[in-house]
C-alpha cells in the first residue's frame, strides 16, 4: 500500500512538473508586438551577431510599421536550412546569404526576383548608382535576387614594423607580384629546425588571384565559362611555384598552428605571425577594435610583372534575399532599403561601418558618417578603390556556382600539393565541369 502511494505521489509530481514546464511560454523575441513581424535570418555568430542585432534594432527604432526579428543561423549549411524552412512552409521573410549560393537558389525557384518588390525609383537607383561589381554579384539570369548588406573584397595587409626590420619603407612596397613574393621570402623567420615561426607572404586563393592575371573564370561575351585559359594557367603556375619555394609541408604545419578565429582579435596578422597576407576588408575594423596602435597598410594585390591586371579581384559577401514563399516581402524590402542605402544614407553608412563591410553605393562613402569612420581606419579606402576597378569582376553567374567553386579549390589543392601539374589540374577542372554541364543537360536543366 505504502509502495503504491509512493508511486502515485511520484507520478503526480512528474505530471505536475511536466505541466509546469509545458505551460511556460518561451521568452518572446518581440519588442514591438503591435507591429508587423519581419523574420530575418543571418549567418553571423558571436560578436558579429551583436552587430547585426544592433542594426536590426536601429531599423526598428527608425519606423513604426515593422519589427525585424533577427535570428542567427551560423554555420556552413545556412542555404540548406533556408531550403528546409521554405519546404516546411516557415521561411524567413529575409535572409542574409553568401552570394555564391544565390544562382543555385534562384535557379531552383527559391528566391523572389527583387524587381517584384522594388519600387521603380529604387530599381533606378540600384541599376544606375551602385558599384557594378557588387550589383551584378546579386544578379542571375537578368534578374536581381540579392542586394548586398556587406560585400567582401581581398587585398594585401602589410605589417610596417616587419618591413622596418629589413630597413624597408612601406611606401617603397613592390609594384609587382614577383616583388611581393620575393619580399615575403625575406620576411620569413624559422627556428633551429627550419620550421617557420613567421610567414612573410603566401600567395594563395587561386579563385581570387586569377583576376590579377586575366578575366577570371567567365567570358561574358560568349556567356560561357573560361577555365583552362592561358591566364589562369599562369596564375596557378605562379601560386604553385611560390608555394614550392617556401615548402608545402612547412607552410601547412605553420598554418595549422595559427588562430583562425575571426572575431577575437587573434588574427595571425595582428599577432605578428604573418607579415604580409591576403585578407578581407572587415579586418580593418578588427584591427581598429583590437590593435588600434598597429602600424600596417592595405595595398591592392599587384599584378605580375608582365601581362597582369592591376586592381583585380572578385566580390563575395552577404546579400539579402527574399524567399519566394516569404510572408512579409514588403517589410523585408523596407529593411533591405534601410541597410543597403536606398533610404537614409547616413543610417545606411553606419550599418556598413559597424561590420567593416563594403557598401553598395559609392555615394554612401561620401556621407559624413562614412568619412568620419574612414578617418579612424583610413586603410579601408584601399578596398573602396579596388571596387571601382574594371578588373574587379563578379563570380561566374552559373547555377552550379558552388560546384564550380569547389572544383576551382580542388584544382589549386592538386597543383600546390604536386599531385597534378598546374596544366593537368586546370585540364581536369575543365573536364570535371564539362561533365557536370553534360550531366545537367541530360537531366533537362537549361544550363
Amino acid at each position: 500500500m505504502v509502495k503504491n502511494l509512493k508511486w502515485v505521489a511520484f507520478l503526480l509530481l512528474a505530471l505536475g512538473f511536466g505541466a509546469f514546464v509545458f505551460s511556460q511560454k518561451p521568452p518572446s523575441q518581440r519588442k514591438y508586438p503591435d507591429r508587423i513581424e519581419v523574420r530575418f535570418w543571418h549567418r553571423w555568430g558571436g560578436e558579429w551577431a551583436k552587430v547585426v542585432a544592433d542594426i536590426a534594432e536601429r531599423y526598428n527604432q527608425s519606423q513604426t510599421k515593422y519589427e525585424v526579428v533577427p535570428l542567427s543561423i551560423p554555420g556552413s549549411g545556412a542555404d540548406s536550412k533556408l531550403t528546409l524552412g521554405i519546404i516546411g512552409g516557415n521561411p524567413p521573410d529575409v535572409m542574409s546569404m553568401w552570394n555564391g549560393a544565390i544562382p543555385s537558389l534562384a535557379s531552383n525557384g527559391l528566391l523572389t526576383p527583387l524587381e517584384e518588390v522594388m519600387p521603380p525609383e529604387d530599381q533606378t537607383r540600384f541599376m544606375n548608382d551602385s558599384y557594378p561589381v557588387i550589383r551584378d554579384s546579386g544578379r542571375f539570369d537578368g534578374k536581381t535576387y540579392g542586394v548586398t548588406i556587406g560585400s567582401d573584397l581581398y587585398a594585401l595587409y602589410v605589417n610596417e614594423e616587419h618591413l622596418k626590420e629589413l630597413g624597408l619603407n612601406v611606401d617603397d612596397f613592390p609594384k609587382t607580384l614577383e616583388g611581393v613574393c620575393e619580399l615575403g621570402n625575406r620576411l620569413n623567420k624559422t627556428d633551429a629546425n627550419g620550421n617557420l615561426t613567421r610567414l612573410g607572404f603566401l600567395l594563395n586563393s587561386f579563385s581570387f588571384v586569377a583576376y590579377n592575371f586575366g578575366p577570371g573564370f567567365y567570358d561574358p561575351v560568349s556567356d560561357s565559362l573560361s577555365l583552362n585559359t592561358a591566364e589562369n594557367l599562369r596564375a596557378l603556375e605562379f601560386i604553385t611555384e611560390e608555394r614550392r619555394k617556401i615548402g608545402f609541408e612547412r607552410v601547412t604545419r605553420f598554418q595549422a598552428g595559427l588562430n583562425t578565429g575571426s572575431d577575437t582579435g587573434g588574427w595571425p596578422f595582428i599577432t605578428g605571425d604573418l607579415s604580409i597576407t591576403i585578407d578581407g576588408q572587415w579586418r580593418v575594423e578588427e584591427i581598429r577594435k583590437y590593435r588600434p596602435d598597429m602600424k600596417y597598410r592595405v595595398i591592392p594585390i599587384p599584378p605580375p610583372a608582365t601581362n597582369g591586371r592591376a586592381m583585380g579581384g572578385t566580390i563575395s559577401g552577404n546579400f539579402m534575399v527574399i524567399p519566394t514563399s516569404a510572408k512579409q516581402k514588403e517589410g523585408a524590402w523596407d529593411f533591405i532599403r534601410f541597410w543597403s542605402g536606398f533610404a537614409d544614407k547616413e543610417a545606411s553608412a553606419r550599418c556598413f561601418n559597424d561590420g567593416g563591410w563594403l557598401p553598395l553605393f559609392p555615394d554612401l562613402v561620401e556621407t559624413k558618417t562614412f568619412q568620419a569612420w574612414l578617418k579612424q581606419g583610413p586603410e579601408f579606402q584601399g578596398f573602396i578603390d579596388i571596387l571601382s576597378s574594371e578588373n574587379c569582376l563578379p563570380m561566374p553567374p552559373v547555377p552550379y556556382l558552388q560546384f564550380l567553386n569547389d572544383q576551382i579549390g580542388r584544382a589549386e589543392d592538386q597543383a600546390v600539393r604536386g599531385t597534378l601539374s598546374p596544366k593537368a589540374a586546370l585540364e581536369k577542372l575543365r573536364y570535371t565541369v564539362a561533365e557536370e554541364q553534360r550531366k545537367r543537360k541530360s537531366l533537362g536543366y537549361e544550363e
Partner: protein
Amino acid sequence: MKPGRKNNLTGYLFIAPWLIGFFVFTFVPFLQSIYLSFTRYNIITPPKWVGFANYQMLLTQDELFWKSALVTVKFAVIHVPLAVVVGVCLALLLNREVKGIAAYRTIFFLPSIVPTVATSVVFLWILNPTTGLINNLLRNFGIQGPAWLNDPFWAFWALVIMSLWGVGGSMVIYLAGLKDIPIHLYEAAIIDGASPAKRLRHVTLPMLSPVIFFNLVMGVIGAFQYFTQAFVMTPNGGPQDSTLFYSLYLFNRAWKYYDMGYASAMAWILFLIVVTLTAIVFRSQKKWVHYG
C-alpha cells in the same frame, strides 16, 4: 475478443508511437527515394522522370562517386576487423577480476557515450600538427609527427584511429558475451591441460562468435554509413579527397548542390552494397559462428 488477440492488440498499442514514427519518417521516405532516384529533383519543384540517367551517370561519368566508394570500402576493410580485434582484446582484459575493474570498464566505455560531434572537435585539436597533443608527445621523442588532417595519407588514417575511440560500445557487448560463457567449459579445458592460448582459441572465441557476428554486421553497416566525423573534421573530403566518404559525397550532392534525385540513386546503390555484404556475412556464419 480472444485473450491472445487482446494481448497482441495491447502490445501493438504500446509500440504504436514507434511504429507510426517508423512508418512516416523512415518507411515512406525509404519507398519514395526509390522513385526519386529515377528523377531530377531539387526539393522545391516537382520531380521530373529521367529514367536510369542518374544511375548511368553515377556509374559511368562521376569520378568522385568511385573515389568516395573506394575510400569507404577501404575504411570498412580496415576499420571493421580492427574494431572487432580491439573490442575483443579490451573485453578480455576487462573481464579479469582485478581491483578497480569497474572503474576501468567505465573509463573504456565513457568515450562511446560522448556525442560524435564533440569528439570530432576534440580530435581536431588533438591532431593539430603544430599544437596538437599527439605531435607534442611525439616531439618529446624527437619525432616530427605527420600533418594529420592536412596530409592525404594521414587524414584517412587519422579517421581510422579516431574510429577506435568509440570501441567501448561494442566492448561492453563482448564483455556481456564473455560473462555468458559457462565456466565448466574452462574447467574441462584446464583438466584436459589446455594452455591459456588454447582456451582462448578453442573455448572463448567460438563461444563469443555469436557476439562477434552481431558486432561484425553492425560494424559493416556503420562503416558504410560513416559520416559525422568526416563531415566535422574534413567537410570538403580532406586533402585530395582522401576522406571523401560515400555518405559525405551523398550529403554534398543532396544539400549543397540540391541534386536529390542523384543523391537518392547514390543512397540506393549504398543500400544494395550494404545488403549484399550483410547477406555474405550472414551466409558465412555457418562456418564460424557457434550457437551454444
